[in-house]
Symmetry: C2
Subunit: 414 residues, 2 copies
């Protein structure tokens, strides 16, 4: 634990969220306040910007614009998907990072991202510790997938959950409006974790949700799915709304699209698997096996960048995650990630704590199986209790011409 | 022109919008106020509810809930797609409607919908006029497609345009975030009119819009499209965002999906054309011909039911369209549709007028060709001037548990 004096570097990594820039604002505003931090840099495209010596001077930005980052989706500095090789395999990148850090006297490094990004952050941290170069490194969590280990939830999840629940309520009203049947299959992100798909049941909690919900935590049985849909449609004038996760797999561990493709059921005429996702593939199958009007819907990128529907709770927590990362680093902590600890009691409250970063790297946190209903098509009240506090409050994004006013950064290159 | 005394019937028809219920609120609240209207009915599933004698007693609803209809998307009474045959072909339905109207002394009939619904309204109106049964009939316009003839714009369009412009701004930030190329193809509704797709250029006006925009008003040339995309991607690090209308057709009048299917380029393994739309089909083609990362996105139903992003201007106008329909009918007008007339001058203002309903039935209003840029991939300032006033102001939907609170109607059957 050392109180270092020097510059700080911040990078954004992995898929966008509605609030990753809120964490950037938290890091920047706090770093500009700290006396031990002599200069604030933002890396273009995460670790790639460090390697390429491409970064921006954040002290030259207007503070008002930095605050607008709270309501600007995606990654204002640009993002990256770049996996560092292990030091044993190839030390080149690490040497380069050390060289750049020395050149600019970077003594604070903050990296904002999900599992893969925390892996990067962890590797850099361990290398610098071993090299003897003093630099306090703190990871700032981020992922709409909510699958980071060790934290009650992740910044980005609450806003995506609010988008999914709100949109599902609206879709429910739309998809059931006619006097004729319609089977609607909605595909939701989340990779191997079902947190986002589970958020569709917040709409059910309000009375406007999907009839059937399938998470990747449970094996997906195609015949059971068809039977489930048939059953709901039969008792509901042919209407059925399904929410399912992009990452659902059959019992033998194959993605559903792959499994169906092997049965020649989802290849296009070029002979390769359809670009469309699992909802489109299953819609084709339902159309074939059950018939009637079937519609596949993907929430696609909208669910991760829909900042106009961001949760105020999520924005505040994402900002604080960045702020506390800087504070803890300035107190001398390093090799950690910020985590949220939910406090017991009837009123929702979290504490911002630290965890060893290697615990976060590459570990996936799944939806507890006990929160999935016995028939595998819905979530229990435990999930509602968990998720509802995370979607509270509306974004207060400023508006110009009836449209959101995003942050305009000058992005002055060093 | 007669001041009639009797009951009123209101029906919703065609595809949902964010504000069709706002028009319902306008009709209901005004009808409940009018002394000549002795009873207010809402038909379940439009004209089908009249034929089946399935309707609700609106006077038994709470006024507070009726006002919440302003922020409740889709059609609260249920919708229908039902085309009345001509009287010459089959008089059965008309006789039945007359019978029901007589039985309940219905002297006011308001029908809310787009082209097809105005066709229904027109046919009923003409039949009743001919039959000698006195009933004042006014159509209330509605369609996100904005393709109704005779009105400056249609209720529903402003909200869908706001959804499209806002979402496109957010998508822009998401789709350009990486240091690698990505071609993003967004499919937007609108049938044979490009008004909705054109709304994506409101995002361009703010600096976050699509690079290429294709409307159905111009023939779609697949080779030119590929060349356009290649050109943008080449000068823009492989990044290109395309917005295109579901209704684009090739020069010989074929839908693009059909045209490509004929070349065996878009059939699935069942041998029928993919359920996926034109964006998915063109994404496959771009992936094949240009390569790199390609993503197809459909705004799907979300663009027409996204009430959380409704335009306050649109909500107000939709409400007034319903209100003025009732007022004009009570003044004795019949066989008309409410239209919006934009007033000259720098400040946006409309007047609510009437037009002969047969002019609205089955006529499509397209985007003026002079508003499309010479290279057919964008819109001129004329369109921005036209559309920007329509998306102003935010919905003030009440919120419960961080989610919208929709109207709860009792729906008491007669």
């Amino acid at each position: 634990m050392k109180n270092l004096v020097g510059a700080c570097m911040f990078g954004q990594s992995g898929g966008p969220t509605s609030v990753i820039n809120a964490s950037a604002a938290g890091v920047f505003i706090e770093a500009l306040r700290q006396k031990n931090i002599t200069k604030v840099y933002g890396a273009a495209n995460g670790i790639k910007g460090v390697l390429d010596e491409k970064f921006y001077e954040i002290d030259k930005e207007d503070v008002d614009e930095l605050l607008l980052l709270k309501n600007t989706p995606s990654s204002a500095l640009g993002s990256v998907r770049y996996k560092l090789k292990s030091v044993e395999e190839d030390e080149t990148d690490y040497k380069r990072i050390l060289e750049v850090f020395k050149k600019y006297n970077i003594r604070y490094f903050f990296y904002n991202g999900g599992n893969d990004s925390m892996d990067t952050c962890n590797k850099v941290s361990k290398y610098l510790l071993k090299s003897g170069y003093e630099c306090n490194i703190i990871g700032v969590p981020k992922t709409i997938d909510n699958d980071l280990y060790g934290t009650d939830h992740c910044p980005g999840y609450g806003s995506a959950a609010k988008y999914i629940a709100t949109t599902m309520m609206e879709l429910y009203l739309d998809a059931t409006v006619y006097n004729k049947g319609q089977i609607t299959i909605v595909e939701i992100m989340g990779r191997n974790a079902g947190w986002l798909t589970a958020a569709s049941t917040l709409a059910s909690y309000k009375g406007y949700g999907p009839d059937l919900v399938y998470l990747p935590e449970k094996p997906f049985d195609i015949e059971k799915f068809l039977a489930d849909v048939r059953k709901v449609a039969d008792k509901n004038s042919g209407k059925c709304i399904v929410a399912l996760s992009e990452g659902i797999k059959t019992a033998d561990g194959k993605y559903v699209v792959e499994a169906l493709a092997e049965n020649n059921a989802a290849k296009d005429s070029f002979g390769h698997t359809q670009l469309g996702g699992v909802a489109a593939t299953l819609a084709n199958l339902v159309s074939e096996k059950i018939g009637g009007k079937v519609r596949a819907i993907e929430f696609s990128l909208m669910q991760r960048c829909g900042a106009h529907l961001a949760s105020a709770t999520d924005i505040r927590e994402a900002y604080n995650a960045g702020k506390y990362a800087v504070r803890y680093a300035c107190e001398g902590y390093t090799d950690k990630m910020v985590v949220f600890e939910r406090q017991p009691g009837p009123v929702y409250k979290i504490k911002y704590k630290l965890m060893d970063i290697d615990l976060a790297a590459n570990t996936e946190k799944k939806v507890p199986l006990s929160w999935i209903k016995p028939d595998d098509t819905g979530l229990t009240e435990d999930f509602i209790d968990y998720a509802l506090p995370l979607i509270q409050g509306a974004s207060k994004s400023p508006v110009e011409d009836g449209l959101p006013r995003f942050a305009h950064l000058k992005k002055i290159r060093v």
